[in-house]
Each structure stands twice: as structure tokens, then as C-alpha cells.
């Protein structure tokens, strides 16, 4: 929104600005929060109020929709972004939903990053979408991504494997951000670029193409950059977290992108792990998937602990295999062999 003086609206004459200043109104937000009847009903006031309200309506794109339309949109037009693991897709209602934030929370070595890589691979391979991967803990491995792509790929029997792999790898962009300021700036820039790509419709070459096809944004891990700034005798850390979640949500909604973030665990009461980003972060993701690894086994479970439009509490066992996360099937004889994958 911004400062009134910088909007350049015709109704905001110097006189009008001075008048609003007198009421302590400097920004559009201030204006909207103000009791407009207290401004009076002179000619100037009317003009200003009408002009500003028009501006607000024009810039915010608020249109009414009814439930039926929303439902139809939900069921027909939304392509869900697969995580690349059908059984996990099933428990979260078909896949990652564009426009929402999905969170993976789990102990170390429970497969959070693996699932992120797999989702990136699946989106780039199956949807031919571009993927932005924001890596905050040096865990992005292109080698592993290629391995997972090959695993997914094998099923689809592409002939030109190498070429396909190159194309897939080209669609995944990795950004590094080791502190929250870098991450915020990055997300902000992404948003600006996406706005640009939208308006230009495929304007400036590769870059525009990337942003137009962007369907999945991954932040691995969110907690690694947020937890160092939380705590302390100030509230700024919290403000930064809110900014981050706001930006993620904005990107998700405005451009209909599926956002996947990870959150690590810390020991809570009685030594049991709990999410590092606690209560105030809880409202950010629409879907929260808890990953847990059983002690002394290779079998992990994924449990839906929050879902705004689907069922909660469902869980599915999985194993980390050479080709990525796979549903765990105890009776299948090949299951143990799958674990024996080797580095090529």
C-alpha cells in the first residue's frame, strides 16, 4: 500500500494530504483503520474518501465469490503437485495444494530433505513445472535429485533419459540463504519477479519462463534460519518470522504456488521431540505432516497432524530407498533390497 504522498492519486492534493496528516493518516492502512465519519463531510473530504476507496478497490482485486464457485475451482481447476510418493500424496489429500503452505516436521534423519528433493523432482518431471528450492542448511544435493528423477523416470519409460534429466535439472533452481535477512530479500525478489513475469507474459527469455512455470517453492529448512533470531529480550525475531510467513503466504496465494517448508524438532517435555517453531508458527501451514523415524529401524512414518480441508491423524509408513521415499511394504521381498542401493 504505502505512504499516501507517494500514491500520486489526483484526489490527493497538497491540501488533502495536509488534512489527512492532521488526522494522523499517512498510509492507506491508516486511512482504512480510521473512523471515516470523524473526518467530516465537506467537499474535500468526500473527494478524498471516494478517491481512496476507489484506489483500494482497484488495487486489492477483491471480488466476491460464492461457495459453489470455490468448490468448483477446488475440484476441477487445481492441479495438485505430487510429492513423488503416492502413499504420502494419499494421506495429504492428493498432493501439495497450490496456494497453500505444507509443512514437514520431523527429527533429524527422518527424510525431510529427501521428501523435498523428491517433490522437486516430481514437479519438474511430471508437471514440467519450475521449482524454486531455497536451501538454508546446505542440504541440496543435485546428485541425489538426479538419482530420484531416475527412479521416478524409470516408471515412465522415457527413451531419451539423459536429455530428459538435463531438462528436469534445468527446471529446478536452487537458492542459498543462510540467514533470515537473505531469505526475506530472496522471497521478496521472487515475488517481484513473479509479478513481472505475470504482467509481461513470457517477456524476458529464460528467466521469465522460469517464473511463469513456477509451481512449487521449497524452503528447507525454515526453522534453521528462524530459530537463531527467536528468543532474546526483544520482539524483533518474532516480527521477522511473521514477515517470512507473510511473504510465503503471499507468494502461495497470489501466484497459486504450492509452498513446502520444513521445520526441525527440539526436545520438549520428557525428552520427546516437538517442533522447533512452536505455537505462533503453527497457524502458518495449512497442512502439517509429521515425519518420524522409529528407533533402530529404517522404517519411518508420516502422520498428518494438521489439515485445513482434509482428515487429520492418518499416517503412512515409508522407507528411504535409493529412488527416494517409498511406501513401506513389509511382506514385499524386494523391500530390503531396495535399501541396498549404492552410490554410483
Amino acid at each position: 500500500m504505502g505512504a499516501l504522498s507517494r500514491l500520486g492519486l489526483p484526489c490527493l492534493t497538497a491540501e488533502a494530504v495536509a488534512f489527512l496528516d492532521g488526522h494522523g493518516i499517512y498510509t492507506v492502512e491508516d486511512f482504512l483503520a480510521y473512523d471515516l465519519y470523524r473526518l467530516g463531510d465537506g467537499e474535500l473530504q468526500k473527494q478524498v474518501i471516494a478517491g481512496l476507496l476507489q484506489h483500494v478497490a482497484a488495487t486489492t482485486n477483491c471480488t466476491w465469490t460464492d461457495g459453489a464457485t470455490l468448490f468448483e475451482r477446488l475440484t476441477t481447476s487445481t492441479t495438485l503437485v505430487s510429492t513423488g510418493c503416492p502413499s504420502i500424496d494419499d494421506v495429504i489429500g492428493g498432493g501439495l495444494r497450490p496456494g497453500t503452505i505444507t509443512e514437514l516436521v520431523g527429527t533429524s534423519a527422518s527424510g525431510k530433505t529427501q521428501l523435498c528433493l523428491q517433490a522437486a523432482a516430481a514437479a519438474a518431471l511430471e508437471l514440467r513445472a519450475s521449482v524454486a528450492f531455497i536451501d538454508t542448511s546446505n542440504s541440496f544435493s543435485a546428485h541425489r535429485l538426479a538419482q530420484i528423477v531416475t527412479g521416478l523416470h524409470g516408471k515412465d519409460k522415457f527413451v531419451e533419459h539423459k536429455q530428459e534429466l538435463r531438462n528436469v535439472a534445468r527446471r529446478v533452481l536452487c537458492f542459498k540463504a543462510f540467514d533470515i535477512y537473505t531469505a526475506l530479500r530472496l522471497l521478496d525478489d521472487l515475488l517481484v519477479h513473479m509479478d513481472g513475469a505475470e504482467s509481461k507474459r513470457g517477456g524476458d527469455g529464460n528467466q521469465g519462463d522460469f517464473f511463469q512455470k513456477l509451481q512449487l517453492l521449497i524452503l528447507d529448512s525454515a526453522s534453521a534460519i528462524i530459530s537463531p533470531v527467536l528468543g532474546g529480550a526483544h520482539t524483533q525475531g518474532h516480527a521477522l518470522m511473521v514477515s517470512l510467513s507473510g511473504l510465503l503466504r503471499q507468494i502461495a496465494l497470489k501466484h497459486n504456488i504450492a509452498v513446502l517448508v520444513t521445520n526441525h524438532t527440539v526436545s520438549g517435555e520428557g525428552g520427546r521431540p516437538k517442533p522447533a517453531l512452536g505455537e505462533s508458527w503453527k497457524s502458518v501451514p495449512s497442512v502439517r505432516l509429521a515425519l518420524a523415524r522409529e528407533d533402530e529401524s529404517d522404517c519411518c512414518t508420516a502422520t498428518v497432524t494438521k489439515h485445513t480441508i482434509g482428515a487429520c491423524g492418518e499416517s503412512v509408513p515409508y522407507v528411504l530407498s535409493r529412488d527416494g521415499l517409498r511406501a513401506f511394504e513389509a511382506e514385499e521381498p524386494g523391500a530390503t533390497q531396495q535399501l541396498e542401493w549404492r552410490q554410483e
Binding site: A3, S108, R170, F175, F178, A224, S267
Partner: protein, 363 residues
């Protein structure tokens, strides 16, 4: 983005806010003088804020981004630091990788420091032999670093490298090792001894400068990251934040200067249920997320093993290794010391095997 999230002093933030600059976009096309006039900030402060918003030479979001394809090509070319133990190298995908943070944990005496020293030496492997020809930084917090042990391992390593170069029968390979000597090996290891955690934190803070001055450094070892943080630290929440902050700094260093970061961690006893306890890596649950790779060294049946506990790119794997006079090796020592009796248990895996300090035993 909100201006509230900018890294600027709280007082400047408050003034911006009061003057209606709440969105980053509000600051994009304004001059410092204008901003100062409108917000009541001093011109210097205004200029500083604008620099934060639009840093010079910043190309925005696309600046640091690489596609997975580019990264794949870089990863393929990347050379790893060998552990000098083929079995460990195999599960590590060839050794310790630059640009990654690897944690090594294990019980006392299992060979954590030995492995650290071995890496500090083998990072110097000549490029002609597929090495990194790098230097190492060793940050010692426990005082377990033994100079004579380094020399002993360096001598053995030099002999190995020379033998390898010789057997290839290519003159340029032989030439590549001619510049190496015990002196060059020792002088390529930069050593810091940190006596408390303040010093440890300070060293981590001065590393960027050191890495700039010595661009050949390819390996950074902190042995151990744990020691000082396990005492004198009452405020656990603060400890977590300080440690997390440190690990993010180390990750940035690893990425920016192409160095491998190796963190040695201790183990601690954790009570599970009644009268039961288990050994777990120290520093708690939140720290376990701080490293990219975690390698656990342990004893089983009198034999040392390394285990990849977590890694984004490597499969879980376990491999045996030996600590010999020469260093970390895949086979037990070959040349016995003179005082070693030849009769000593030939059927054993090796006479240099230490008995179970480790994790097995006792039910």
C-alpha cells in the same frame, strides 16, 4: 515485504513506520534526502537504510541461484577429501565433501581426533593425484591434538602418496609429490586452541578473514564443538541459539569459500525410561539438525565402525575401519612395531585393535 523486517536499528524502524513507510516498495524509488525529510531520520541514517534496501551490485533474486543442472555439474567435478580408509570412503561417496558440514561423533577413544588429523593431512593430496592440494584449519577445544601424532601420520601419508605416484610411472605425477615434505604438511595445518566458548565463538567469527588470506584452505575442523558448550552454560535456550547461529555461519563459510567443515561431537548419556539409558550425540535434538551429514563412529565386537546416520545425498551405510600407526586405514597395520610380538593372535582382525572401549559389551 515489510520494512519492519529490515536489518536496521529499532529507532530508525520506528521513524520509518511513523512516516508511513511500511512496505519495502515504498523505499524503492526514493532518494536519501527525500527519505530523511519525510521520516525525520538523519541523512546518514536514511542513506544507510536505502543501501540496505538496494545494495549496490545486487542483481536481485537471480544473483545466487543455480539450476540443479549447474549444481550437478559442479558436484560431479568436486573432489572429496579422502579418509585414507577405502571402506569409509566408500560409504562417504569418496570422502568428506567440500561445501558441506559433516559431524563426526563417537565415544571417547574411538578415533574422532585421529580421523580429524587424518583429514587435515589428506586434504593436501596433490591435484595430480585427484586431491585438493589444500590447507586445513584445526580448531582444538579439548587439547587432544598431538603434534607428534600428526608428524607420524604425515610421514606415513607421504610414503603412501609417493609410492602411489611412483607406481603410476608418469613423470608428472612423481614431480607432483616432490614438493611435499613433512615440513610442508605440518605448515599447511593452521591450528587454533580455544580455551573457552568465547574463544571458540571468536575464532568462528575471524574465519572469514582467515579464509580470505589463505585461499587454499579447503578443510575446517572443530574438535570438538561440544566441550565448552557442555559446561558454564546454564541458559539452554541461549545455548541453542548461539549454537544454531554458529552453525549457520559455518554453513555460509562452507558454501562461500568452498571448504569442508568437519565438526567433532561427543556423546552423552541420556536416560530413557526407568533405569535405562543410551548414548546419544551431545548438544541435544536441535543441534542434530545443524549438520548436513552426521557420521557416527562406534565399537562393535571389538571392531571400529563408521556409520552414516544422516545425509541428504548418501545412503545409510556402515563400514569398519582401523586406527593404525599410519592413521585411519581400511586394513589392520601391516608393519608391526619392533616390540610387537609376532605371535599375538594371528586370527584376530589385527593386533592394533583396541579392545572394546566402545559401544558393545555388557548386558
Amino acid at each position: 515485504m515489510d520494512t519492519a523486517a529490515l536489518p536496521i536499528p529499532p529507532s530508525s524502524r520506528a521513524k520509518l513506520f511513523a512516516a508511513g513507510f511500511r512496505r519495502l516498495a515504498d523505499l524503492r524509488k526514493i532518494s536519501a534526502v527525500e527519505l530523511a525529510k519525510e521520516s525525520g531520520l538523519s541523512q546518514e541514517e536514511a542513506l544507510h537504510i536505502l543501501r540496505v534496501v538496494n545494495p549496490a551490485g545486487d542483481n536481485g533474486a537471480m544473483a545466487g541461484a543455480k539450476s540443479a543442472l549447474q549444481i550437478l555439474q559442479i558436484e560431479k567435478k568436486r573432489r572429496r577429501i579422502t579418509t585414507c580408509c577405502e571402506t569409509l570412503d566408500e560409504i562417504l561417496g569418496g570422502g568428506i565433501s567440500p561445501q558441506e558440514v559433516t559431524e563426526i561423533c563417537g565415544v571417547p577413544g574411538v578415533g574422532k581426533t585421529q580421523l580429524g588429523i587424518q583429514l587435515a593431512i589428506s586434504v593436501q593430496r596433490p591435484e595430480e593425484l585427484g586431491g585438493l592440494a589444500g590447507e586445513a584449519v584445526y580448531i582444538d577445544t579439548e587439547g587432544s591434538f598431538m603434534v607428534e601424532r600428526v608428524l607420524e601420520m604425515a610421514d606415513a601419508w607421504l610414503a603412501d602418496v609417493r609410492r602411489e605416484a611412483l607406481s603410476a610411472q608418469e613423470p608428472h605425477l612423481e614431480a607432483s609429490t616432490s614438493g611435499l615434505s613433512a615440513e610442508t604438511v605440518l605448515s599447511s595445518i593452521h591450528y587454533y586452541r580455544a580455551y573457552d566458548y568465547t574463544e571458540q565463538l571468536a575464532v568462528v567469527n575471524v574465519l572469514p578473514q582467515l579464509l580470505k588470506q589463505h585461499p587454499k584452505i579447503r578443510l575446517l575442523i572443530i574438535d570438538s564443538v561440544t566441550f565448552h558448550f557442555r559446561q558454564d552454560f546454564d541458559d539452554m535456550a541461549l545455548r541453542t541459539r548461539v549454537l544454531n547461529g554458529m552453525s549457520q555461519k559455518l554453513m555460509l563459510l562452507a558454501e562461500k569459500h568452498d571448504v569442508a567443515v568437519v565438526l567433532v561431537n561427543q556423546v552423552t548419556t541420556k536416560v530413557v525410561g526407568q533405569n535405562q539409558s543410551k548414548l546419544v550425540p551431545a548438544l541435544g535434538e536441535s543441534w542434530s539438525h545443524a549438520c548436513t551429514n552426521r557420521v557416527i563412529l562406534f565399537w562393535m565386537e571389538g571392531q571400529r565402525y563408521g556409520h552414516i546416520y544422516k545425509s541428504p545425498s548418501l545412503r545409510a551405510g556402515t563400514a569398519p575401519y582401523f586406527v593404525t600407526t599410519e592413521g585411519i586405514r581400511a586394513t589392520p597395520a601391516t608393519n608391526k612395531r619392533p616390540w610387537q610380538e609376532q605371535s599375538a593372535s594371528p586370527s584376530d582382525l589385527g593386533s592394533y585393535r583396541t579392545e572394546e572401549l566402545g559401544l558393545s559389551v555388557a548386558t
